[in-house]
Amino acid sequence: MSKKNTRILLIDDEEIVRESLSGWLEKDGYTIGTAADGLLGLKAMDEASWPILLVDLKMPGIDGLEVLRRVKEKSPETAVVIMTAYATVDTAVNAMKLGAFDYIVKPFDPEEVSLMVEKIVAQQALVRENVMLRKALKREYQFHDLVTKSAAMQGTLELARTAARSPSTILILGESGTGKELLARAVHAESPRHDKPFVAMSCAALTETLLESELFGYEKGSFTGAVQRREGRFVAAHGGTLFLDEIGDISPKLQLDLLRVLEERRVTRVGGTESIPVDVRIIAATNRDLLKAVADGRFRQDLFYRLNVITLTLAPLRDRKEDIPPLVDRLLEQLAVELKKPVEGVSPEAMALLLAHSWPGNVRELRNVLERGIVVSRGPLLLPADLGLTLRGEEIPAHPASLAEIERRHIAAVLKNTAGNVTQAARILDIDRVTLYSKIHKLGLKRADDGVFEPATES
């Protein structure tokens, strides 16, 4: 994680302290916020994430220890450092008992503060790594693991979150690689069934009979090789959630069987007669156009209606390019842990390449490209060559372009994507607005009548 992403909140009633300490830490590249008293500090903590908190002990109103107590109640993982001009053993002991990371006496030795902040950052990175590893191990995903800035996707997630609390069947639509299973797991984690099993089953890979026995189980001797009775996925998911991926691929017979289970909430093992009651929440997913399949008679209309109670649509990555930079950050963080290779990010040129790619394989493809990048990269930053992305034919310019020309084209393209919205474009490009304005000016981009920027005609 880069230093810019390390956020430190400073709460002190003395302006000169806020100013000098924030100025000093800023030069280390950290993002610093300040608050003039305890209440304002707590408010800032509510409004944004501040993993590191430096708070003065003596302040009018709510003092430092009280801030510490309240912060620790809400977010125990926040590292709180108490600062004071008047050290007493009692307050130091109190602060440590309440969970302070450290207790330091003003004025600080410069070395002491640098080392302390570095220590906190390193420790929090370890904790994050631990959480990530545990998640990867248990495949526990929650809504905050689904990174998106796109309005349409946020609407989908909002609906998913609400739907999670109900027992209703959910149908997830989206191209392959958009994260359908991730969303299903997040819905399960948010649902009242979260402590019961989540069972995932891909319906595409298996033959009809195999899928049937996998889903419903079988009796001993019901077919060659059935040496003993086996329960199916429906029973395994009892009380929890059954995720049926690629539902659009199942055969007409299985469609009918599935419809029956959904209606009766009971399953019968293959070769058996006993009907077993199951309490399972179904989440189905497909990358196919189910409505068209219904119209073509390839998918049962009644099953479609059974499944299509709540529909969640995941947009392809090419339609939400603003998600690429935050996704890259998140994926790199995960991959760095998995591959045990520290990596800081991607170079601006590599990011430009990632933004220009059309991502037919969506987030999964992005993850694979980054994984390859980490494996072959030699420095802390992934460079364009590391990604192994080849430009498609039409994107290769006839004449080699200068760097400035590529920058100009890229900025123009991003501005076009944001319909001329400079703030949004600056966010996608990961530069500040002022810098973008000066680049627009320098590169001679003109605002057309419709508000969209375009390259000025060559002179």
Binding site: K27, M83, P107
Partner: protein
């Protein structure tokens, strides 16, 4: 424009040889004309009686308000022990992307230990580059040999070279261009003019 004014604002006498070495070094690193001047007055209000030190913040304000118009940057050099309110001391301070910077020799002399004073020159040049670097928006560098690396102790200062690493040099050129108040020295600028 594009000139750096170097002002001696210390309480003791100026060591002209030392200051001249800083001047030529600044010229070389930032590729700009640097002019050494004796300040007519001192930032007296920067002295804090309680701490018996000088406030680097107030020193910077004093310098910024007196910057000669032709100078894009002003670097104060002093022997006064500098502090910011939360820290016991600082080697120097600068306005990030601002105009003024200050460096003190007080903590760079190694408390008069034998052999230490010989190192003062290179330390002062290193920290002068460091603080001026901040005025061009450079942040602390991870490259421990780069002048922009954070230094909290003399040992840190001594492990640095008095120059910008490749990355910081590139950033300096880019930022200087973007800030727009600083240009590399023109070829025809003749040092004899000074």
């Amino acid at each position: 424009m594009s000139e750096v004014a170097l002002w001696w604002i210390g309480t003791g006498d100026a060591d002209n040889g030392l200051l001249e070495s800083v001047r030529t070094h600044v010229e070389r690193v930032f590729r700009a004309a640097a002019r050494l001047e004796l300040a007519g007055s001192r930032p007296d209000d920067a002295f804090d009686v309680r701490r018996n030190q000088h406030s680097s913040h107030r020193t910077l304000l004093w310098l910024a308000s007196r910057r000669p118009q032709r100078a894009a940057r002003i670097l104060g050099l002093t022997d006064a022990d500098l502090f910011i309110p939360v820290l016991t001391f600082v080697f120097g301070e600068a306005q990030l992307k601002g105009r003024a910077a200050v460096v003190s020799t007080a903590r760079l002399t190694g408390a008069g230990l034998p052999g230490e004073s010989a190192r003062l020159g290179v330390r002062l040049r290193t920290e002068a580059v460091h603080e001026l670097g901040h005025t061009f928006g450079l942040l602390h560098c991870r490259e421990s040999r780069c002048a922009m690396a954070r230094s909290s102790t003399l040992k840190d200062v001594d492990s640095k070279l008095p120059d910008l690493c490749e990355t910081c040099r590139a950033l300096f050129l880019e930022n200087a261009d973007e800030i727009g108040d600083f240009h590399e020295q023109e070829k025809h600028a003749d040092p004899a003019d000074r």
